[in-house]
């Protein structure tokens, strides 16, 4: 079942907000049921969810929370894989305190992920998981692709990690585990086209031997992963994840900055692959800073419900007058992270990845 929503309160950059269930208090009149203080909330589509926004607004945090929640839905995970949100951020954090919002450590601190029927809540305040029994056993298969390419460092990596304290977070470790899993006997025929496209781009297929990854080129050459261009390594990783059966129907792909190290000419290929995976029943979450990458998803989709854009931005609370009487500290809050969602990038404002492109185009115009 796809992930339908996330709710975050006082974790990292996310604080309590004065808003109406992620609606906009400023624009609409109050209605019965509206809350004066609420957590950050985001509702997702079943297809591809594209998170955009400036640095430091919590895009990667949201991806990691969803990943943590889905890992908790599986009773047994592969040896060496992590589960706790804490480890996904850093291997050096001692406890949950570091993840709490610095200004609101004594308030409730939690994030909650829901598929519409079941809920997973990681409470940093209670130091435990709420709704765990309800969630455990849902077996939501998920893969997180971090920004950093990891496969070229795989030789002896996992064994070293068990013995030593390595400076890598859980997502970086897990991706090596996932890529190292055995291949499935047979892939669904619906994946044939995607595999062929990736194989053409990397000019071969990916294998793992003695903890190391190689690309077997179509002319038979065996090329060490570390010698391949970093953008193509990303495609090789994707090929391996699909080949290992990790991106099948009802699974979830979380990909942080897919455009990183990728030549822009490969954006159409990668967006095509994502759209094809989505059509095969994979729910996808990507965080991107790149207008062109996001725009390819918008224009290449077959129907608008296939891709939804979520804009995260910082703004000052402008509480409506009617709500002011309920708050004693209405003027103290500022610079909170807000969000808005739409099926078209043009409907999102302020859209920082478009603003950045527009600034450049204005400079070119005025040159």
């Amino acid at each position: 079942m796809p992930i339908k929503s996330i709710e975050v309160l006082n974790v990292m950059v996310f604080q309590r907000q004065w808003r109406k269930n992620n609606g906009d208090c400023k624009q609409e009149k109050l209605k019965i049921g509206d809350k004066i203080a609420d957590a950050f909330k985001l509702n997702f589509c079943d297809g591809i969810n594209v998170l955009i926004g400036e640095n430091g607004v919590g895009k990667t945090t949201l991806l990691k929370m969803i990943y943590a929640a889905t890992q908790w839905s599986i009773p047994k995970t592969e040896r060496g894989k992590t589960k706790q949100l804490l480890q996904f951020f850093s291997n050096s954090l001692k406890d949950n305190e570091a993840l709490k919002n610095a200004d609101n450590k004594n308030d409730h601190c939690y994030y909650k992920v829901s598929d519409g029927e079941h809920c997973f809540e990681d409470s940093l305040s209670l130091n435990g998981i709420v709704g765990y029994s309800d969630w455990l056993g849902l077996n939501i298969q998920s893969v997180f692709i971090p920004t950093t390419e990891m496969l070229s460092h795989s030789k002896g990596f996992l064994a070293m990690n068990e013995k030593f304290n390595m400076p890598f977070d859980g997502t970086q470790l897990d991706i090596i585990v996932n890529a190292s899993l055995p291949e499935t006997r047979e892939l669904p025929t619906s994946m044939d086209g995607i595999m062929r496209e990736i194989s053409d781009a990397i000019d071969g297929t990916v294998i793992q031997e003695d903890d190391s990854f190689y690309i077997i080129k179509k002319d038979g050459r065996k090329v060490d992963f570390s010698l391949e261009a970093e953008g193509l390594r990303k495609l090789g990783l994707l090929w391996k994840l699909i080949r290992n059966g990790l991106l099948e129907k009802n699974s979830i792909l979380l990909w942080d900055e897919p455009e990183a190290n990728l030549n822009p000419e490969l954006y159409p290929l990668v967006t095509n692959i994502l759209l094809e995976l989505q059509k095969n029943g994979v729910q996808i979450f990507v965080a991107t800073h790149n207008y062109n990458f996001a725009k390819y998803l918008e224009i290449r989709r077959e129907n608008k419900e296939q891709v939804m854009f979520h804009n995260l931005y910082r703004g000052n609370t402008e509480m409506p007058v009617e709500l002011g009487m309920y708050s004693q500290n209405r003027n103290e809050r500022s610079d909170e992270v807000y969000s808005q969602s739409a099926y078209s990038m043009d409907e999102l404002e302020p859209n920082h990845i478009m603003i950045a492109d527009n600034k450049l185009l204005d400079e070119v115009y005025n040159y």
Binding site: Y291, K295, E298, I299, S344, M345, D346, M354, D357, N358, L361, D362, V364, Y365
Partner: protein, 181 residues
Amino acid sequence: MKYIIIEVDMTGIFTEENGKYRIDCSNAIWATDEVHKDYQNAGLHINDTDFLIENESCILMIEYKNANIASAVRPEAFNPTEDNKISNVTRKFYDSLHYLKLKNKTKTVQYVYILEYPNGDTVTRKRIRNKLKKELPFALQDNIGDGIKLIDKVDVVSIEEWNENKDYGKYPISPVNKDEF
């Protein structure tokens, strides 16, 4: 764009060729939507922009294209960034200068392309604007103009951006039939 006059309104409210939107130029010093008709009547087969509006400081030369309306034929096939489309829009600017000369309208021209098309956004419109700038006489007037300008600015905007702009918005664009939108 081949222009068909749907309505000529003496109050300065003009309807665009598809009959879906109108532009209210009643606040203008002078405005016309008859460039095409006047060129045709004179037997000229040259290009023309859809509207000319004179305000206190400049002439707004306006080209209007809306591929987002329900009756648009294969709107997804309309690509305003193609070289021939850019060339077509620039030719309309140059040919409309004759009209201004004969009307003794000597204020500097701002060329505004009001453009609606599927999946268009501010970034794509600015990219089109920059392409247009290269084809319009900005460099020429800098090189030989001796202070005289044929054009002061080129802009590509959506209908919403037009209406929200403090200068353009004095001549608001609205649907002819509000129930349709």
